[in-house]
């Protein structure tokens, strides 16, 4: 029934793909030539150099301010403080402890004046990038993260861990194209322990079959559990 629902929804597609220009026409040729004319590596290198120079005063400021982890036994997280609400903006890296929040850390970096010349933006938002890192960008609330294609980060204890857990799961699935149920379960349990979510459960939803030999781990935060669901093997690249 649900497949029928998606099929019906597909019928509402306003675009007829067969009428869309393909990659072999003159428009595509022009665009390809233009894309290839754009700098490929220069910009990232320049950004890396800028980042390096930004990291030095940022690190000095942090040390001088005596900013240390309040609880050394707790795992610190790295946070990227973005100069602008853009994925390609300059950024400075810092570490944030479990009892501090990323927005405060980046706000202090802005206010120190060592980071960038302009004054601190009135609002900063904390997000989680697809690459698991925590990012703080100028902007107000969750919309600022969503606009960049990132997830909002709630720094309140458990919500924060769920956000980071999701990022860890993403990395796991990038590294494991087709994990078995045993592998997935073991990894799910390790992650729950790592994130202090020992009261969560790991539950299998269905059994693997020759058609669906892989297992994917999903978060069901409403019921505090990780779900192991069988999936088809990804296509060969």
């Amino acid at each position: 029934m649900t497949d029928r629902l998606l099929r019906d929804l597909a019928e509402l597609d306003p675009i007829d793909e067969t009428a869309v220009p393909d990659g072999h026409g003159p428009e595509a040729d022009r665009l390809l030539a233009w894309v290839l004319a754009q700098p490929h590596t220069e910009t990232p290198r320049r950004q890396q150099r800028r980042r390096l120079w930004l990291l030095v005063p940022a690190a000095l400021m942090l040390v001088a301010a005596g900013w240390l982890l309040a609880q050394p036994s707790e795992r610190p997280h790295e946070v990227s403080c973005y100069r602008e609400a853009s994925t390609g903006a300059d950024r400075a890296e810092a570490q944030v402890g479990a009892d501090d929040d990323p927005v405060s850390v980046c706000a202090r970096l802005w206010e120190s004046g060592d980071l960038w010349a302009e004054p601190r933006p009135s609002e900063l938002a904390s997000c989680v990038t697809p690459a698991r890192s925590i990012a703080v960008v100028p902007g107000d609330g969750e919309e600022s993260c969503v606009a960049l294609g990132w997830a909002p980060l709630d720094w309140d204890a458990s919500a924060r861990e769920v956000s980071l857990l999701d990022a860890d799961l993403r990395r796991f699935h990038l590294d494991h194209a087709c994990p078995s149920e045993e592998e997935a379960r073991a990894h799910a349990e390790r992650l729950l322990e790592r994130h202090g979510l020992e009261d969560w459960d790991v539950q299998a939803v269905g059994q693997t079959t020759p058609e669906e030999p892989c297992v994917s781990i999903g978060i069901d935060s409403d019921d505090d559990r990780l779900l192991l669901t069988p999936l088809r093997a990804p296509p060969e690249s």
């Binding site: 509402l12 793909e17 799961l169 999903g218």
Partner: protein, 168 residues
């Protein structure tokens, strides 16, 4: 990479933006992809490109204005495009209207997940790449979005039935 994905990416952008904006999004997406090619997941290039385009659209959009355009385009579909497939599936026009209304009442996140599955034909791995979550989470979220769509649709159908009963 470019020629294989140009048409699909252009269609993705056209579904969510005006033709002028779509061209800009496609161009910017390929520039970003060109610069970040080393980071591209080779087995999910198309969803990876959609993910880049999604962020560019989000930056480019003025939120509600873009969403409004998408809704207008969906409404305009019925006037612009005949749908023999819909008839083959036995979908009455009124049912399509109800489905559109039900979809429209969902949260934006649910709407987008459903469109990625229905229009871009992405599986959980692909959707996860686009929206930046794990495949398992994408599967759970898509499942919930489908359930919510079904629930809205049932509610609307029930209301229509009630109205019909009163009318009759």
């Amino acid at each position: 990479m470019f020629r294989d994905n140009y048409g699909g990416l252009y269609a993705y952008a056209l579904r969510r933006a005006s033709p002028e904006d779509a061209e800009e999004v496609v161009a910017e997406t390929f520039v970003v992809a060109w610069r970040r090619w080393d980071d591209a997941p080779r087995d999910h290039v198309r969803p990876w490109l959609y993910g880049i385009a999604r962020r560019i659209l989000a930056n480019q959009r003025r939120g509600r204005a873009r969403q409004k355009r998408l809704l207008e385009r969906m409404q305009g579909w019925r006037a612009l495009r005949s749908s023999p497939a819909a008839e083959a599936y036995g979908i009455a026009r009124s049912e399509s209207e109800q489905l559109y209304r039900a979809w429209r009442q969902l949260r934006p996140e649910d709407r987008e997940l459903l469109l990625l599955a229905a229009w871009e034909q992405l599986d959980h791995h692909g959707i996860a790449e686009v929206v930046g979550c794990s495949p398992g989470t994408a599967r759970v979220r898509l499942h919930r979005a489908r359930k919510r769509l079904r629930s809205q649709l049932d509610r609307l159908t029930g209301e229509a039935g009630d109205d019909g009963g009163r009318d009759g």
